[in-house]
Amino acid sequence: MKRDHQETIGNKAESSSSSMDTGKGKSWFEDDQDAGGGMDELLAVLGYKIKSSDMADVAQKLEQLEMVLGSEDGISHLASDTVHYNPSDLSGWVQSMLSEFNNLPSTDFDSSILLSSNRDSLLGQPSAITSLDFSRNSQSKVFTDDSEYDLRAIPGVAAFPQQEFDRSNDRKRMKLTPVGSDIAPAPAVNSLQSPTASSTSTSSPPAMAVSGTLSGPTRPVVLMDSQETGVRLVHTLLACAKETQEENLELADALVKRIGLLAASQTGAMRKVATYFAEALARRIYKISPQDYRLDSSCLDTLEMHFYETCPYLKFAHFTANQAILEAFADASRVHVIDFGLKQGMQWPALMQALALRPGGPPAFRLTGIGPPQPDNTDALQQMLGLLPPEVEAVAVNSVFELHRLLARPGGIDKVLGSIKAMRPKIVTVVEQEANHNSPVFLDRFTEALHYYSSLFDSLEGSGMIPRSQDLVMSELYLGRHICNVVACEGADRVERHEALAQWRTRLDSAGFDPVHLGSNAFKQASMLLALFAGGDGYRVEENNGCLMLGWHTRPLIATSAWRLAAGDSQQ
């Protein structure tokens, strides 16, 4: 039997080595010098730190464990109760399992041998793993480690599917697929509880099986399939958010760490999104507030410039808003634009050029910018009201991703909208993120934000940029700041209070504005603009009741709308 396992392990290593083209065509069994105790590569990828040379020992011990588990009816349910938490501490886990068997009669297991040899051969971290819940077993000796947590709190099928709880003899087949590679998958691993496990000579060493199954059919932690990992990553993120909302901070903390592990096995957009969200969750859990969002405005401006350059969202916003303003200014000889967030002013050169070339000749042009939010945002507006010559010039008010900040202070938005109305603008252009990140329930916000930023990061990945340009990294940082604000901040600090177009429509409507339909020119220009971007086929422009939305595949991400004073308002 032992030899079978050795051969199995050798076969696995050979097949994986050759297909990985590592050049190690030899089985590591034959080469005792192999990296002098180097880790098995495949297992290392999955988080197990096991010396290749120790695999035989581990296999043997686990086989003995398997015999015990399979043979004793009274303890087979233990397998389904087990929570396998830390995949890299195989030693500790085995130890904990075996310590139970010491107390049970009729076992011919010599655990002491196992324990002593385990310590030598297996590398593991001191943090032990499991908390076995023996509530169903009358003769329970509960082995609990205070540092670990009951992962049954994780909702969803991936983490702890309740419905599988009764199937104690469930066999879970898992494909051994190293993450993100195109290696042919190694043979499937059978559950140790399967009576045929011992005869599966082509299966991977039981070390793999153990990780998957002795923790029960419910909670394999380290996943061989990166797609599965992706699903579990999302579930863990949501579970962590839920625990954070319910103030189970210890449990949330454990989950956050787990997210880090899972995220490391992903690639691309999912990995980045998970990392940013995990960081934001950690900040929320530990109550570390991010750097003051307002003081960082210049830093944020720089990041925003890079965001402007790498993806079309800001350009789309600017071009569509400009088109609306241009059309509204068609006959005016003096125009005044008020911008709610001038920053680098990237929007305005294009408008000025278009005004310069308009058929009637260029108007007199004035541009006023409102800077970072002041404690009382209406001060600047009030001052301007005094300066505006009434009815002489056409006024346009423009806000690109700025209005939602006003929702952070109660009454702020109403005051500002009132001030805007007092200016009697010809047109008000509003561009906002098309998502509801302002729900009072944290979990709802979190879920929405997760989906939204996943799409956004996907679009960055898909933009066909030459890999990892600096601009791309900066853009991701820029979005990461937003994620942090949505997740980790509260109260007046949480300024990224995005709301969906429908909500803004209601709000502006009740404030006394009528919608202005963006014309087909705007639509055509926007479509053309998007076609220029390398990832152009992923972006979609949609028209929604006169508003234009830019989205990535099926998900709308930003929305431009235009407004004017309601017809019922009397002219002063």
Binding site: M305, M346, A350, Q353, M528, A534, D537
Partner: protein, 154 residues
């Protein structure tokens, strides 16, 4: 070339007739125009003439942009730059991807929107270069238009 060439009439050299040369060069496409600038010093000087590039930029534009456009474009850097930075990449990309409504026409025909878009992007480019000369140390220009320079993964 020696020999008994009897020169009955003066040899014709196009270099003596710059206006004809310009008319010919006007009809070239962008790449050929650039190549022609490498022929000799005279051709190089002529190829730098912005009116050639103006013709190149907008000869397929329908309707052609108004004459008021010229001072703006000259102020923003000239037609040659407009072509290099905006028109050429935009045309080539839009040519590859069929824009709805243009599929029946010659794909190199500009619409008014296309012209407007190019001009807007050109303006943005100029503005960014301004910013760089003023305060930034970054030597590369117009990075917000970099997406135009990057090769498209078709």
């Amino acid at each position: 070339m020696e020999g008994n060439v009897k020169e009955k009439r003066p040899r014709f050299c196009v270099n003596d007739h710059v206006d004809i040369l310009m008319e010919i060069l006007k009809r070239l496409d962008g790449r050929s125009l650039c190549v022609s600038a490498c022929v000799c010093r005279l051709w190089c000087t002529i190829a730098r003439n912005d009116s050639l590039w103006e013709h190149l930029c907008f000869r397929h534009a329908s309707p052609p942009p108004s004459s008021g456009v010229r001072p703006v474009i000259v102020a923003l850097g000239g037609y040659k730059r407009l072509y290099m930075v905006c028109v050429r990449p935009v045309l080539s990309r839009l040519g590859r991807l069929r824009i709805a409504g243009d599929s029946d026409r010659d794909r190199r025909v500009w619409t008014r929107d296309g012209v407007q878009l190019s001009l807007s992007l050109f303006c943005v480019d100029y503005y960014e270069r301004l910013g760089r000369l003023g305060g930034g140390g970054d030597a590369s220009g117009g990075s917000s238009l970099m997406f135009l320079c990057k090769p498209v993964n078709v």
